[in-house]
Structures are given as C-alpha cells and as structure tokens.
Subunit: 206 residues, 2 copies
C-alpha cells in the first residue's frame, strides 16, 4: 500500500506468468456500495480468466450479469525485514485485473473453461476425472473476465533502508516464502494409487 516507483509492470508475459502460478484469486464486487472480496479458484486461458460457481450464489449471479469486478492474484515471495520498522515490506508479485464478466453459456466454451480450471489445478487431471454431465453443466455458472485492463506489481530484493540506518546493528534481509506441497492424502474410499501428476505436482519455481 506504499507508493513506490518501479513496482508497476504491465507486460503481458509477466501478467500471464503470475496468473498461471497463482491458485486462488480474490474477486471484488460491489453490492449496495459495500465491496466484497471472496477467494476463488480460477484459470487463465489465453486472454481470459475463467471463474466458476453456483448459479444460486448471488455473487456469481452478479458476476455473470456483468457488474464491474476486480480479480487480484497475489504470490507472496518473502518478508522484507528492514533495519527500520518503517521500511518493513513484503516481496510479492500481484496482478489486478479489472473489467466486467461475461456469462459463458455456449456449451462448448463452458466445457472447455471447466476443463481448463481443473487442468490448472493439477496438469493432467482433466483427462482423469469424469467430465461434467449436462445436469452439472447447468448447475455451474462460468464467468469469463477478459484480461484487458490488468496490471502487475512486483517487489523483489533486499530491504531499502534509509542511508543512516545501514550502520545500525540490526539484522536485515529477506525471509523467503513460497508454497509448500505436502504428501497427497488418498480418500479413504479410494483404492486407486496416486497418479504421477499428483505426486510430482509443483507450481512456480519452488
């Protein structure tokens, strides 16, 4: 929330890479002047971001109706511990995408969007899991947000302390943070062995 020059990045490749590494996005929407921010699974597909949810959800209905929305994806890369409290910060990469959603009603596009969402959760999964039935497709609303008004912000590197503070006898540096992947937990009611795309699951560079 500090204004700093140099943190804004706008090139498409950077924006795509951040969106593709993220798993959970935060959707912002307004209702009666009150903003709401909700965590969602999402997937980028070309120049679109797909979200899905139940048509019974008011939030989803509003998104599908095309009200102004914001989708923000943040990757926390580390805590920046400066010599002064004032310069404490975080290393992160984030994308803020603004716009209006479009309800995906075309059957082919809807199936493809849901396939992409599952596939981005775990590459390989969409060929393994059972695809949606006609009834399930009806019970799912898919919203497409075009990536037209999007920006990225990135902070990397060491703390930036005030010149005089570099003489202080205070440790300063970065504590790197990332995504920890645990051992897959097989459902008690499942006798199938864990597939390689699950045991070998990774995201980003960690």
């Amino acid at each position: 929330m500090r204004r700093r020059s140099g943190r804004g990045r706008y090139d498409r490749a950077t924006i795509h890479a951040i969106l593709d590494e993220g798993l959970v996005g935060h959707v912002g929407i307004v209702s009666d002047d009150q903003p709401y921010v909700i965590p969602v699974l999402y997937a980028r597909h070309g120049e679109r971001i797909y979200l899905h949810g139940s048509p019974l959800s008011r939030l989803v209905r509003n998104l599908a109706a095309g009200v102004p929305m914001c989708l923000t994806v943040t990757l926390l890369d580390g805590l920046v511990l400066a010599r002064s409290a004032f310069h404490h910060s975080m290393n992160y990469r984030s994308v803020v995408a603004l716009g209006e959603g479009r309800a995906v009603r075309d059957r082919y596009e809807k199936q493809e969007a849901l396939r992409v969402i599952v596939e981005r959760m775990a590459p390989g999964r969409s060929e393994d899991a059972r695809g949606p039935s006609a009834k399930e497709l009806k019970a799912t609303e898919v919203v497409a947000l075009p990536i037209t008004e999007a920006s990225a912000k990135i902070r990397t590197g060491p703390p930036a302390d005030a010149a005089a503070d570099y003489e202080l006898p205070v440790w300063a540096g970065v504590l790197p943070l990332g995504l920890q992947v645990g051992v897959p937990v097989t459902d008690d009611r499942c006798a199938v062995s864990v597939p390689e795309y699950v045991t070998g699951w990774t995201r980003g560079e960690s």
Copy 2:
C-alpha cells in the same frame, strides 16, 4: 464460490486464529462503482485489524476517510481432487471482515499499531528494528478496521463426490498445501548474524 451448508463459522476464536495465521490480506474498496482489490500486510490487535500505507496513496486516503471496505484473508490448505471435475474444490480457511476504517491519528495508538504489524510479521522483530521517527509516523497512515461484521469459511476433508462416482477408477484425495519457509537471505550490506526469531520463524502448523 459454491453455496454449501456447513462452511460458515462465526465464532470469534476461529476468526482470530485465521487472521493471526495469515500474512497478506486483500482489501476491497470501491471508487466510481469500480471495485479494487489490493494485497496488504495487516495485523490483528484485539478486536481490530490494522493496516498501514502512504497518505499519498488514494486507496489509503479513502480507507482512512472511512469508506466501506472489506478485508479478506485466505489460507489455502489443499487442492481437493474429486472423481468428477464438478466436485473439484479447495480446502481453505478464510475470513471476510466488512466495515469502515478509522484513521489512527493518536500518536500512541499509531506507534502501537505499527509495532504490532512488525511484530506479527516476525515475532521479536519489533524489539530489534528501529522504531518510527516523528517524520516517518507522519509519512504513514494507519487504518483500524473493527472486527464487528466478520465471518469465516472453512473447508476441510476429502472430496465429496456423487454416490455413483465412488466406483470410478479415478484417484481422489487431497493435495495438502501450506507455507514454505526458505533460508533467510541476509542483506549484502549487513554483517549482523541472523537472529533466532528469523531462523526459527514459523506460521500456523506447518
């Protein structure tokens, strides 16, 4: 974004625990009918959430002026890989706090809020780093959001597939995710050894 019974939790202890484990929150705010969602560092202190930022930032100024806001904190605990694409989901814990912020202008409360924010980033840090000068205090806006209208949502456990799908020869289960803590990177310009509160830094149960 699916409506499911049983995911809502509202007790104070649950809400506090999620807020205290999170590091980054997502603030939602409205400007000209457009919602914006921005990642921020924050800290809970009693029944308040403190945020800080530059008074030069329009977002921060609006928060300080008391416009309706939303702060959402999400902890991603795992990917839920169901037998059907339809039932794919995530295990997570989230808090959504609604309300209006209050600019913290009292010098004592402001110092205390900034201390708490640094301390929650790394317990022990606030006694090590140099505290804010009068000039730095002026250059920082602190906003307090009372935790009055807050709710938590939690999903845990295995996939919930449709009854007939349990016979499918598809692996199903959960891929646990958490926060990975790397090796501290000391600033090139720092000769102080890494303190124990950094080498031993943990968050949550991982």
